[in-house]
Symmetry: C2
C-alpha cells in the first residue's frame, strides 16, 4: 500500500476464549488493547484538557471528521499543524469518516453513487462528501488511523437496503484506497505522512450480509485493522452480539477489530468477550450533562436527593480525580448549581471508568480469567443497574 | 477578641511610596500581599479544579455567603465538614457577608435596623439576613477570614443615603462583633474554630463619610484587617482612587486593606499604588464566558476573526497552561464551537494573569521600583486597550 513499511504493528499477547489482549504499536505511541477511545468530537474531549484525558489512561482518542470539516475546517487544521498540534494531543488519534454523521445530523441529504450532498447543520451551506474528498479531509486532519467513507443506513434496515449500503461501501472502499494511495505519494507535507486506513464492515443485522462484507473487504486489500460499523444504532443487544460473533469469525485473527460507537460498560465487556479490540463512544462525556455516571453496580444519577450530605465518592473503587478528591455531596451541589466543574468531574469519571474497565479486561485475558471476571463483573453491574 | 491569640499575623516586608508588600500568616497558609483572590462563588472557582486555582499562584480564594447560604445551605456545608473540605481547598478562604448580593440580586428586599428580609432569586423563598444570622452562617461555612454584614447602597448614592448606610454598618459591626465572640465561645465544633472578622469601610464617594467610617470602625475594636467596600460599583475611577487615598490615610498602616470586588488589571495596579493589599473580582472568570481575556497590552476578544489561523498564545509573556500549550486559533475554535474547554482556558488564563500581576507588583515593591514599574505597566496596558 505504501512504499515504506507502515509503523503499525498489532501484537496479541494473550487470548482467552475469543477475547484477546495485545498492543498496537504506532509512530505516535502504543495502544493497549482492548482499548476504549474517548471521543474528542470538535478537537476536544468535552471539557477535558489533553493531559487529563491521558491521566485516565487513554492511549488514543477519536476525532469526528464531519464536525471538524464543518468547523474549523480541515484545511485550517492542516495549516495549524494538524489535529495533534491543534489540540495538543501528541499520541495516536483516529478519525471516523463522517459517514455516520452525514446521514444522521445533516439536512437535505442526497446520496448517489458519487457520494453524499448535504447541508451543514451549522449554517446550512451546501457540502459534499465523496470517498476521494473524505480521504483528502482526513489527510489534512492528520490522524494516525483513518476510517473509510461508507454508506450508513439505520441499524434495523431491511435486507435489501442493508445490502445496497454494504455493497456500495465496498465500492467506496476501493475508491478510498486509490485516493489514499495517491495522496500518500503526492501530499508529502501532510501533518501525518503515514496514516493507516481501516475499512468498515457493514451489513446491518443480517448475518449473510455481514459475512459478505467482511469477505469482500478482505478481497480489496490486506488491511492493518478493521472497523465494524452499523451496530449500537437501534438494534437489540442480542442482535448486536450475534453480528459480532459472525463478523469476528470471518475477519482475520491477527488484525485489530474496532467496534465503532460502542459503548456502555456492559457493551464493552460483551464486545471483548466476542473478540473486539477497540471501542469508542460519546456516552461518558454526554452522560455527564444529564448527571449520569457509571459505578461498578450500575448507572446512577447525581441528582439523587439522598446524596445531599454524602461524603463518599461517585464510585468507591475508582481512582479518578473526581473520586479521590471530591464527594458526591459536592458534585451534586455543583451539578444542581449548573457549575461547569460538576460536568467536568462527571465526564472525567465516566471516561476514566471505561478506560479502567478495559485495563481490568486486559489483565483478566492475560491471566486467563476473563470468563469468570466478565461474568462476575456483569452480574455486579446489572445488580442495581437503575438510573435513580 | 478570643481567648487564644489568633493565628493571623500581617508582616510588611517592604514599602515603596504608599505601596506595600508582605505576608498574612494564617493557620491554613500564608497569603503573599498584594494578593488577588479568585472568586469561588458557589464553592467552585468557575470551571476550575482547586489544584488548577493553586497552580495560578493564588494563596486564597473567596466564597460568596449569599450564594452558598441559598444553595447548598450553610448548615449542609458545615455537616459536610465545612467549605474547605466541601470543595477540597485546604488553604485560606475568605467569605464575604452577602451584604452586597442581598441588595443587588434578591427580590422584594425589606431593610430595617434589624436586618434585610428578602426573597431568594433561586426559588423565591423568604429569607433574612441579620448581623447575628450572618455570623452564624459564616461560622458554619468555616472560612478563615469572614466579613461583617454591612448595609450596601449604590456607589453614587447621595450623601444622606450613604451616611445612613455607613452609620448603620457601624452599628451592625458592633452586633457582628458580639455575635462573633459569642459563637467562638459556644460553637467549638465549627469547621474553623478561629476565624478572623474584618469590618468594612463604607461611605460612598464622600470623603468625610469615608473618614468617619474608617475612624468609627477602629473605635469598635483593633481589627486584624479591614475591608473597603462600596467601590467599583458605578462610580468613576478618579472617584474610586480618591476614596482609596482618603481611607488608607485613616486606616492603620500595619493592618491589611482588602478592596472588595476590585478588579481589572489597571484597578489592581492603581490600588496597590494607594496602599491596598488584597483584591477580589469575578471579572476574570466572568469574562471568559464572553471570550474576553487580558493581555499585557490590553483586553482582547477571542472572537476576533484575525486569529483563525493564529498559532501564538493568548499572551506571549504568560506562563499559564492555556498560553504554554494552546494556540489562539485553537482556543478561538473552542469558543466559537461553544466547547467548555474554551471557557476553561480563558478563565484560567485570566485568573493566572491577575495573580501573576500581583506577583510582579510584590517584586517591584520589594525592589523599590514600584513607581516606574507601575507607570510602564499601565502605559503598555492602555496602549492598545480595546476589546476587539
Amino acid at each position: 500500500m505504501v512504499s515504506e513499511a507502515p509503523r503499525f504493528a498489532f501484537t496479541i499477547d494473550a487470548t482467552d476464549g475469543k477475547a484477546r489482549t495485545g498492543r498496537i504499536a504506532m509512530r505516535r505511541g502504543e495502544i493497549r488493547t482492548p482499548a476504549f477511545m474517548p471521543v474528542g468530537t470538535a478537537a476536544t474531549v468535552k471539557a477535558m484538557k489533553p493531559e487529563s484525558v491521558r491521566a485516565t489512561g487513554a492511549d488514543i482518542i477519536l476525532g469526528n471528521t464531519y464536525h471538524l470539516m464543518l468547523r474549523p475546517g480541515a484545511e485550517r487544521v492542516a495549516r495549524l499543524g494538524g489535529l495533534h498540534r491543534f489540540m495538543n494531543w501528541s499520541r495516536p488519534i483516529l478519525t471516523d469518516s463522517g459517514g455516520y454523521q452525514v446521514m444522521s445530523l445533516s439536512d437535505l441529504r442526497k446520496l448517489t453513487e458519487q457520494g453524499v450532498e448535504f447541508r451543514s447543520h451549522l449554517d446550512g451551506s451546501l457540502q459534499q462528501f465523496t470517498p476521494e474528498s473524505v480521504m483528502r479531509i482526513e489527510r489534512n486532519l492528520g490522524a494516525d488511523v483513518i476510517m473509510q467513507f461508507d454508506h450508513v443506513v439505520p441499524g434495523q434496515s431491511p435486507h435489501d437496503l442493508a445490502r445496497e449500503a454494504m455493497e456500495r461501501s465496498v465500492r467506496w472502499l476501493e475508491r478510498c484506497r486509490s485516493a489514499f494511495a495517491r495522496l500518500q505519494q503526492e501530499d508529502t507535507l501532510a501533518p501525518t505522512p503515514e496514516q493507516a486506513l481501516f475499512p468498515i464492515v457493514q451489513g446491518g443485522i443480517h448475518a449473510d450480509l455481514r459475512r459478505a462484507s467482511a469477505s469482500a473487504i478482505q478481497g480489496v486489500d490486506d488491511w492493518v485493522g478493521y472497523g465494524i460499523g452499523g451496530l449500537s444504532v437501534g438494534e437489540t443487544k442480542p442482535d448486536m452480539y450475534a453480528m459480532l460473533d459472525v463478523v469476528n469469525e470471518v475477519l482475520p485473527r491477527n488484525r485489530p477489530r474496532y467496534l465503532m460507537g460502542v459503548g456502555f460498560p456492559e457493551d464493552l465487556v460483551e464486545g471483548v468477550a466476542r473478540g473486539v479490540d477497540v471501542f469508542d463512544c460519546v456516552a461518558p462525556t454526554r452522560m455527564g450533562r444529564t448527571g449520569a455516571f457509571f459505578t461498578t453496580t450500575g448507572r446512577r444519577s447525581i441528582k439523587n436527593a439522598a446524596w445531599r450530605l454524602d461524603q463518599s465518592p461517585l464510585d468507591p473503587s475508582c481512582t479518578c480525580v473526581a473520586c479521590t478528591r471530591f464527594s458526591k455531596g459536592y458534585i451534586r451541589h455543583l451539578f444542581v448549581a449548573e457549575e461547569i466543574l460538576g460536568l467536568r468531574l462527571l465526564s472525567l469519571h465516566n471516561v476514566h471508568f471505561l478506560v479502567a474497565l478495559m485495563r481490568e479486561a486486559r489483565d483478566a485475558v492475560l491471566a486467563g480469567t476473563f470468563a469468570g471476571w466478565s461474568r462476575d463483573w456483569l452480574a455486579r453491574y446489572h445488580s442495581r443497574s437503575t438510573v435513580s
